[in-house]
Symmetry: C2
Subunit: 305 residues, 2 copies
């Protein structure tokens, strides 16, 4: 790739993504708050920049991978931000998961200085970032998507141009809605089985053969059975995304009767100190005491209390 | 198969299942309320019986495939019921979806007359019944399951002995919980996308590539996009199953924070006259007016009301 690529935000996701770009032979300049990940990617062959402004000044394409909406706003428009360094005709690709309406607003402001911006949030977690198999959901102009495609093809597998600016973030919100609700549904089903004295291992196996089958039942269902809540994807990040879903729904008047209580469960989990557990730890909020080995399962046919 | 098999209940599911048994060379005797399906299966090679009692008197194994708990109770224990005709050592396989506690109670009463009963509800719908690829979730003794296995292998694909009596029905309740909740989640996601002005076709495609992927997103998601709510599986049957989930949960004290509103949505759908639509018609309760082509989608970035 002959274009100079800037990368800002070398967290759990950004660091392996940046490394994959370097490995693919990209001319990469990076910036991040923590020096450790920068040293790591620089050792792999990238150059170091002192600020987002400096990244933007020396790149044809600037990629952002940041935790939340305010982080993206600060990096783009804050002191020594991207917008101060960027030249006309350049491209910004924001791969963070942020509020769809903010994404659209940011794209307009980037457009005002003659550059262009894509929203391109991802799904697939750290493993997808490391393996270069992320799902990428893109909002923006077809011309910009075409320009960015060689980069997306290094980072991801399932690459979908969803629609105009903001559409990528809306798609990501839909993704997090479905993933969160499915985790809660699987948790409720396995907890119900267990509380009825039925082996949830067998239930998961039976359900995988029919319409109840899902990636969540496969992966997160197994984590629930193992009581293994090492992230994976942290509950506090899913809480942030659940907030985006609820807010977007309320902005357009979309009823979300089953997701609203799921968002509430994420709030309970994070509020109770489980923010750094995997999102499948929703299970712990509703599983019986036997889930911690305290009491034996209730036999099927037990009398109502 | 050299055993004489009785089959009671030749509805949408029972009729193709009985036909598959005949085709596999079983010696089959059938009974059903409607004469049409009986004629059909008799024409295929089965014998006809005048009552459940008569079926039981001339069979080694009696299979039931009936709509609901009271139907099973009437056929087993009502006038000219199975229990009047059955001999010691015989086997009853109830493949209907009924209340788990009732299944256990019925099995005990069948045990009292020296026979044995399995609960073996299925998933996979009419198509699975026709193709002989049903998922079968079995509760009962290992010996009885072994005895019934050649029959199950004609009718189904994914055959799981979940646990003791009642465990099959509990597993089926868990299945219907997950399927119902996933349908509602997919409906909320596609409706949200559409109301934000984003093409739900692209959203479904993007979501199929990651953790949001499920059989429901694939099959029922497509039905929502097509506004094609021909059943499939009727909403009123899913409402019945949702009632079983809620009741079982309340009997064992299982919180179901996200399934409770899903059950309520099924009640709304059926109460509004949608009982004979496919269960994916939950989508119609929350999709915007544009879903019926009345108004254009709301553009992304539309102001909050």
């Amino acid at each position: 790739m002959d274009r100079r690529i800037g990368f800002i935000g070398l967290g759990i996701m950004g660091r392996p993504m940046a490394r994959n770009l370097v490995t693919a032979g990209s001319d990469l300049i990076v910036h991040s708050r923590s020096p450790g990940p920068v040293d790591d990617v620089v050792a792999a062959g990238a150059r170091r920049a002192g600020s987002p402004e400096e990244v933007a000044a020396s790149s044809d394409v600037v990629i952002l991978m940041l935790p939340d909406t305010p982080d993206v706003e600060a990096v783009l428009f804050g002191p020594s931000g991207v917008v101060t360094g960027i030249a006309e005709g350049r491209l910004v690709i924001d791969m963070s998961s942020i509020e769809p309406l903010a994404a659209r607003r940011f794209a307009e402001r980037i457009g005002d200085v003659g550059a262009e911006m894509l929203d391109a949030p991802v799904s697939g977690g750290e493993k997808g970032a490391i393996d270069g198999t992320l799902s990428i959901m893109i909002g923006g102009s077809a011309a910009a998507v075409e320009l960015a495609m060689p980069i997306f093809e290094i980072l991801g597998g399932n690459i979908v141009h969803v629609g105009p600016s903001g559409a990528g973030q809306i798609c990501k919100a839909c993704n997090q809605l479905v993933v969160g609700a499915t985790i809660e549904a699987v948790a409720e089903a396995l907890a119900l089985a267990e509380r009825c004295g039925v082996d949830p291992v067998m239930v998961r196996q039976a359900l995988l053969g029919g319409f109840a089958s899902s990636r969540v039942l496969e992966v997160h269902g197994q984590r629930m059975l193992d009581r293994d809540f090492e992230p994976g994807f942290r509950a506090r990040l899913h809480l942030k995304d659940a907030g985006i879903v609820i807010e977007t729904g309320s902005e357009v008047g979309q009823p979300l009767p089953s997701f609203a209580p799921v968002a509430e469960q994420f709030r309970r989990l994070v509020g109770g100190g489980g923010g750094d557990l995997d999102h499948s730890a929703l299970f712990t909020l509703i599983a019986g005491r036997d889930a911690e080995g305290v009491s034996p399962p209730v036999a099927p046919g037990a009398s109502p209390p």
